[in-house]
């Protein structure tokens, strides 16, 4: 962080020189507060960064005890929980940056550090992106400590351990790797640690950025770690033997390794009866297929293979596209893009305006576009179904990916008909089978086939005595 002129700097026994040293390390920033205190007969300087420490704590736990103390030794009179001493400027600077204050005493080569960070955090709230019907309604926040607390409260095993990392030369972001040691496969944790040890970042702000650096296949569209804001979800994966990465400052917590099918499971599955849960799980997987292939199917059938339609369907499709001036691919692209724009526009607006956009976009544009003869009725139905199907995925990451793959398969369908769709689906499946998430197969338990793990795969496994649930 701050090895000035490249070499390690140490404190000296000269107080003023020490203060000057530290101020230089901070490039003379003005929010580095330097307060003089007199302790016993020694002069001392108290240093902290104004915005990072809680003033009342500094007053209560440091200045007041020092003033009233009769003990000669400074360390003993301080009543702060975490006490350290350090002689290096480097260490001192990093501690000051994480909310400590440093007491420098005349004639001493070591500074006393006391951690008095200011704690500002958001209330624990249900995440907007992962609503569920029944089940716990708490969510992760921005503070790593709170997030760890939420997990620790759910898992009280002593083998639930945490490893701390600091990434980003500029941001110095804390990252916690948590896992249950007795459950997790040691090979997996080695793989993850190896990846984490190789991280060398200038800045780290989001968990996604970290994932992009550490994931095995950097070009795959499929997310190789599940990012969730739900502590119950994270905890259930921890119990299954996965690890969790918490990045300070982001509410999205990474679960790794993960599989494709994990993205189609929801907490709701486990709070409902297993038959109901399994039904919805199957529904979500079908909706993935619909999102990827439905518009492509339509294009392929209309432009290459109308003979596979039953006659009644053929009539109605034929009449609806009779006077549409565009080829079906253009129609589909047009509508898909309109839909994406509508969605994009509605996301960032406050909800009353977003509703208006929904009505204007959905109803007005939808009907007008058909009445103007630009797009066929059937196409509107197809695009609507596709959009709904893609939103059925419990994770937004997967929803977006399935729509994007839909575009690819539309092009393929336009070029080669059903044959093109077959090729695209094959390519997707080959890619999914080959993909690994932190050394573990992504398409498990289908490829490689693990029949003993099939219990909780498409169907939701009912809970039994003597077995671990989920």
């Amino acid at each position: 962080m701050s090895k000035i002129e490249g070499k390690e700097l140490f404190l000296t026994d000269n107080l003023n020189q020490n203060v000057e040293l530290i101020q230089r390390a901070f490039y003379h920033t003005e929010d580095l507060v330097v307060e003089s205190v007199v302790f016993g007969h020694k002069r001392g300087q108290l240093l902290y960064i104004n915005s990072l420490v809680a003033k009342d704590k500094v007053m209560d736990y440091i200045i007041r005890p020092l003033k009233s103390s009769k003990v000669k030794h400074a360390l003993e009179s301080l009543q702060v929980s975490e006490e350290k001493q350090t002689g290096t400027v480097h260490k001192l600077v990093s501690e000051l940056l994480s909310g400590s204050c440093a007491l420098l005493l005349e004639g001493e080569e070591k500074a006393i550090l006391a951690s008095v960070p200011v704690e500002e955090k958001r209330a624990i709230k249900e995440p907007d992106s992962e609503h569920i019907i029944s089940g716990p309604h708490d969510g992760f926040g921005e503070s790593m400590a709170t997030n760890m607390m939420l997990l620790r409260k759910r898992i009280k095993a002593p083998s639930f351990k945490m490893k701390k990392y600091v990434f980003g030369h500029l941001t110095g972001t804390n990252v916690a790797l948590m896992y249950i040691d007795e459950v997790i496969d040691q090979k997996v944790i080695h793989h993850i640690e190896e990846k984490l040890n190789s991280v060398d970042l200038q800045e780290l702000q989001t968990s996604t950025a970290l994932l992009e650096v550490i994931q095995d296949n950097k070009h795959s569209p499929f997310p190789q770690a599940l990012s969730t804001e739900r502590p119950d979800r994270a905890a259930s994966y921890l119990l299954e033997g996965k690890a969790v990465l918490i990045v300070d400052g982001t509410p999205e917590v990474l679960v790794l390794p993960t599989t494709f099918f994990a993205f189609y499971q929801s907490v709701d599955d486990y709070t409902m009866h297993w038959i109901v849960g399994s039904f919805f799980r199957i529904l979500r997987l079908i909706s993935f297929l619909i999102a990827v292939t439905l518009p492509a199917m339509y294009i392929a059938i209309v432009s290459f293979h109308p003979e596979i339609l039953p006659l009644g369907l053929l009539y109605s499709i034929r009449t609806s596209i009779e006077y549409v001036p565009f080829p079906p691919i253009l129609e589909a692209f047009l509508m898909q893009i309109i839909l994406e724009i509508l969605k994009e526009a509605a996301i960032r607006l406050p909800s009353p305006i977003a509703q208006t956009i929904g009505i204007v976009g959905g109803l007005v544009i939808g009907t007008a576009v058909v009445e103007a003869g630009l797009v066929s009725n059937t196409m509107i139905v197809i695009i609507g179904l596709t959009a709904i199907a893609s939103f059925a995925a419990p994770f937004n990451q997967m929803a977006v990916i399935s729509r994007l793959l839909g575009f690819v398969s539309m092009v393929a369908a336009f070029l080669f008909g059903l044959f093109g769709i077959a090729i695209i689906l094959m390519a997707i499946i080959i890619h999914l089978c080959k993909l690994e998430s932190f050394g573990e197969p992504y398409f498990a338990p289908l490829a490689p086939l693990k029949t003993n793990e099939m219990g909780d795969f498409v169907l939701r496994k009912p809970n039994k005595n003597g077995e671990s649930p989920s």
């Binding site: 006659l311 053929l314 009539y315 499709i317 034929r318 596209i321 079906p328 080669f416």
Partner: protein, 363 residues
């Protein structure tokens, strides 16, 4: 990598966007008719009904169709000719029914149908129907209005379900048409009071219409002998004491065995063993002597079937596949056999057993 490039390039040799045929550019044909031309017996007169679908808004569809006729020596030339009349590409993928006039079918139907088998666009599940009289007359019923082809098609389909007609499509027809060992039968349609009516079965000798028909009652019996039961099937049998009235037997199950034996002097004898499980479904005279009803039904059905067999032998039509049986069982004898002659003279024995298994609550 090189392999990959090769694969991608070879992709473009397959069907691609240049082969696209947009649905809205196609002219759907739903029925075709073939007749002998009146002016020149060497020519075929072909008719098609091309669909003209129009949306009337609000989800309503108006299906109109137009009739087009032309003359030419072969089916392919007819198709070529007719393209001059219709805009867009002719699409036979939804041609559900092909009508053939009786005069023309006596000359053989396989040259007419051949072009439907070639290429990949022929609709093989479509039905072939023989028309007593001019096929065009049936096809042109209700010109400009709802497609007549569907009316006939639905009639044929429900007749198939009721064991009145065998299930024949272009696909199943092909094998029988060209095979000496087995002959096809086709539904026969007639125009009656401006409406198409299914009147029975046209008997074929290979691909040539023999001119002889079976009525629908006989058709049912033929199908029983062929071991070809539809969804339901009814036989009406006159009472012994009062032949004016009939009782109705619904067929529930069928066991058939066809055995062909050759005697020492080289003559063939076929035996058809039939066990028919029935339910009595109509008994207006309330005859409660089930044994008697069964025995009488045996007798009546055997007699009627014998009539059918006589007709079949007379015109040398073999839909029962006796030739097939002989050819596969006695291949040596088959080779030196004059099947034409042998079939007319051979003995076909019948052994019919009717069981009335259910009587319902009324008897």
């Amino acid at each position: 990598m090189r392999k990959c490039i090769f694969l991608i390039i070879s992709l473009f040799l397959l069907a691609g966007c240049w082969d696209q045929e947009n649905l809205s550019d196609r002219r759907l044909i739903n029925g075709i008719s073939f007749d002998l031309s009146e002016e020149d017996p060497n020519l075929i007169k072909g008719g098609i009904r091309a669909l003209n679908i129009q949306s009337q808004g609000g989800g309503k569809i108006e299906v109109k169709d137009e009739l087009l006729t032309t003359e030419g020596p072969t089916t392919d030339e007819l198709g070529h000719e007719i393209k001059n009349y219709v805009p867009g590409r002719l699409d036979v993928t939804k041609t559900f029914i092909i009508f053939i006039g009786d005069e023309l079918s006596k000359e053989g139907i396989s040259p007419l149908l051949e072009s439907f088998y070639r290429g990949n666009l022929g609709y093989l599940p479509s039905k072939v129907v023989v028309v007593k009289g001019k096929a065009l007359e049936v096809l042109s019923i209700n010109n400009d209005e709802s497609p007549i082809a569907f009316r006939v098609l639905n009639g044929v389909r429900s007749a198939e379900k009721n064991t009145l007609l065998p299930k024949v499509t272009l696909f199943t027809l092909w094998n029988k048409m060209g095979d000496e060992r087995m002959d096809p039968v086709l539904p026969l349609v007639e125009k009656e009071d401006d409406l198409p009516k299914i009147t029975g079965l046209a008997l074929f000798d290979q691909d040539k219409y023999t001119g002889k028909d079976l009525d629908t009652k006989q058709a049912t019996l033929l199908m029983l002998m062929q071991d070809d039961l539809g969804f339901t099937g009814d036989i009406f049998i006159p009472y012994e004491k009062n032949p004016q009235k009939t009782y109705r037997l619904s067929i529930m199950g069928l066991e058939r065995e066809l055995n062909t034996k050759v005697s020492k002097d080289g003559t063939f004898t076929s035996t058809i063993d039939l066990k028919i499980k029935t339910e009595i479904n109509g008994n207006p005279l309330r005859d409660s002597d089930l044994k008697g009803l069964e025995a009488h039904a045996d007798e009546v059905i055997t007699k009627r079937m014998e009539e059918v067999i006589t007709i079949l032998q007379e015109v040398h039509s073999d839909p029962l596949g006796i030739g097939m049986e002989i050819a596969s069982k006695y291949p040596k004898e088959w080779k030196r056999l004059d099947w034409e002659k042998e079939y007319k003279e051979m003995k076909i024995k019948l052994d019919v057993e009717v069981d009335i298994e259910k009587t319902g609550g009324l008897l």
